[in-house]
């Protein structure tokens, strides 16, 4: 009985276990415990949440391994960590730490403006952001075992997450309705690998788990994304930049499970205290938008 590790099935399989759940950004072990106690299905360990990265400016890099390790020791749920787009050495370091998932993330400053990491090279699975079907399938072609919409991180404005989720689902519907002979031209048009496009056409969905991220700040935001058809949600700045993180985190977890039950959504939305201070995406200059990073 030979055991095989690092296969695509086990990489994709962990993301399947996260479905219907909330993955929360945490910056230290104490936040990680709060997230776990609130019912997070995983945490994302990073030094600064996206709202702070946005405010501070400068170059955002992989977090200190010591801080990631402390978070891994503090909780029993999976721990994810971010590396810069194209920075395969940061990814090698995160793999050696034993993190459960790597987010090759546009929230950090890209290290390569033409190429992403060849994620097939790693035993640890990767999640990557996308704004549309072509981008999602390019990342899966490179080996990503999980996809998330990019949204616009650190804003508390859900509009971009909605835009990106609608783009992906809309393009899948279009793909399913086109005659077979048009698929190749569509692959060329959206820059997607042809074989993956054919697989999506058969499945009627992405071949890997697809979460929403970027701007989700309330239980209603989480339920909105779930009703649009994503498999789960990432919440970044929305929790620990709010007035009562533990309460809001619990409420978002409940809203993600009971996303189709308005009575429960009304109940969990009560008295959550101050939400994070939002920033309208439409007020952000194009050059400052994070979601445009990725190729």
């Amino acid at each position: 009985m030979e055991q095989k590790t690092g296969s695509f099935a086990v990489k994709k399989g962990l993301a399947q276990m996260l479905k219907g759940g909330v993955i929360m950004d945490v910056v230290n072990a104490e936040h990680a415990k709060i997230a776990e106690d609130a019912g997070a299905c995983a945490v994302m360990a990073l030094e600064r949440v996206p709202a702070d990265i946005r405010a501070d400016g400068g170059v955002a890099r992989m977090s200190d391994p010591d801080m990631i390790q402390k978070i891994m020791e503090a909780v029993s749920i999976p721990v994810m960590a971010k590396c810069r787009i194209g920075h395969f050495v940061e990814a090698q370091i995160l793999e050696s730490l034993g993190v459960d998932y790597i987010d090759e993330s546009e929230v950090l400053t890209p290290a390569d403006e033409a190429h992403h990491i060849n994620k097939h090279d790693f035993k640890v699975p990767f999640v990557c952001g996308c704004r549309n079907l072509g981008e999602a399938l390019r990342r899966i072609g490179e080996g990503a075992a999980m996809i998330r919409t990019k949204g616009e991180a650190g804003t508390g404005d859900v509009v971009e997450a909605v835009r990106h989720a609608r783009a992906v689902f809309g393009e899948i519907r279009k793909l399913q309705n086109m005659p077979e002979e048009e698929v190749m031209a569509y692959a060329k048009e959206i820059g997607a690998p042809f074989e993956l496009l054919r697989e999506v056409r058969t499945l009627g969905r992405l071949p890997v788990v697809n979460f929403a991220a970027g701007g989700i700040a309330t239980p209603a935001d989480a339920a909105l994304m779930m009703q649009l058809g994503v498999d789960g949600v990432f919440v970044g700045s929305g929790i620990f930049k709010s007035g009562d993180p533990a309460k809001r985190a619990t409420a978002i977890v409940k809203a993600t499970t009971h996303y189709n039950n308005p009575n429960i959504l009304a109940e969990v939305s009560r008295n959550l205290g101050e939400p994070m201070v939002g920033r309208q995406v439409s007020s952000i200059p194009e050059t400052d938008k994070i979601a445009t990073r990725g190729w």
Binding site: M1, E2, Q3, K4, T5, G6, S7, A9, V10, G13, L14, Q16, M17, L18, K19, G20, G21, E36, D37, A38, G39, A40, C41, A42, M72, S76, I77, P78, E95, G98, V99, D100, Y101, K123, V124, P125, V253, K254, T256, T257, H258, N261
Partner: protein, 192 residues
């Protein structure tokens, strides 16, 4: 036949697809009233702490314990943890099966693996007794079993990864992530 899948968090949709392909009528269970009229229930893979907390929030713990007394119930991975009497740490459990289970027994995600297992109980269904291709994701291990519990599958070194106590079934691995429906058929027999 009506089978429920506990749909608080995890890969319940994968179970649903497999059950429906076998002709079962499937209900997603999120609240106690959703258990009414079911012949059996599957608790899917996912995060056991998340599922446990959500079960407490909406008053599901006692109804699930009652359900397990006279119905078939199957836990895969996180679901197996929730059914156990003891998970060696403090977290919400249903405590309906006399097993001690160890979470993340094989290590972190980089240690997740696939392996072919011999599962004799599936031979009733398949005379050739093909091995079952099992996918282990940050999997738990059934560390010990009580006297009324039968081990259904072990790894090469003898460690237990599937067990049954009456109509209660646990697997450390995920038949719902494969295309092999023998475990689901075995469970539906238990639910009859």
């Amino acid at each position: 036949m009506k089978i429920g899948v506990l749909a608080l968090q995890g890969d319940f949709a994968e179970h649903q697809v497999m059950l429906e392909s076998l002709g079962a009528e499937v209900t997603q269970v999120r609240l106690p009233s959703h258990l009414d009229g079911l012949n059996g229930l599957i608790i899917p893979g996912g995060e056991s702490t998340t599922i446990g907390k959500l079960a407490i929030s909406y008053g599901l713990i006692d109804p699930l314990r009652q359900f397990a007394k006279d119905h078939a119930i199957w836990g895969t991975c996180a679901g197996a943890i929730l059914l156990a009497k003891d998970a060696r740490r403090s977290q919400p459990l249903l405590e309906v099966m006399d097993i001690v289970i160890e979470r993340n027994a094989f290590g972190r995600q980089v240690d997740s693996f696939e392996v072919d297992l011999d599962v004799p109980c599936l031979s009733m269904d398949d005379k050739q007794n093909r091995p079952f291709h099992a996918v282990f994701i940050r999997a738990p291990l059934i560390e010990s079993i009580g006297k009324n519990v039968e081990a259904l599958a072990t790894l090469g070194d003898g460690r237990i990864v599937a067990a049954r106590q009456g109509k209660i079934l646990t697997t450390s691995f995920h038949p719902e992530l494969t295309h092999d429906d023998r475990f689901h058929r075995y469970f539906m027999e238990l639910a009859k």
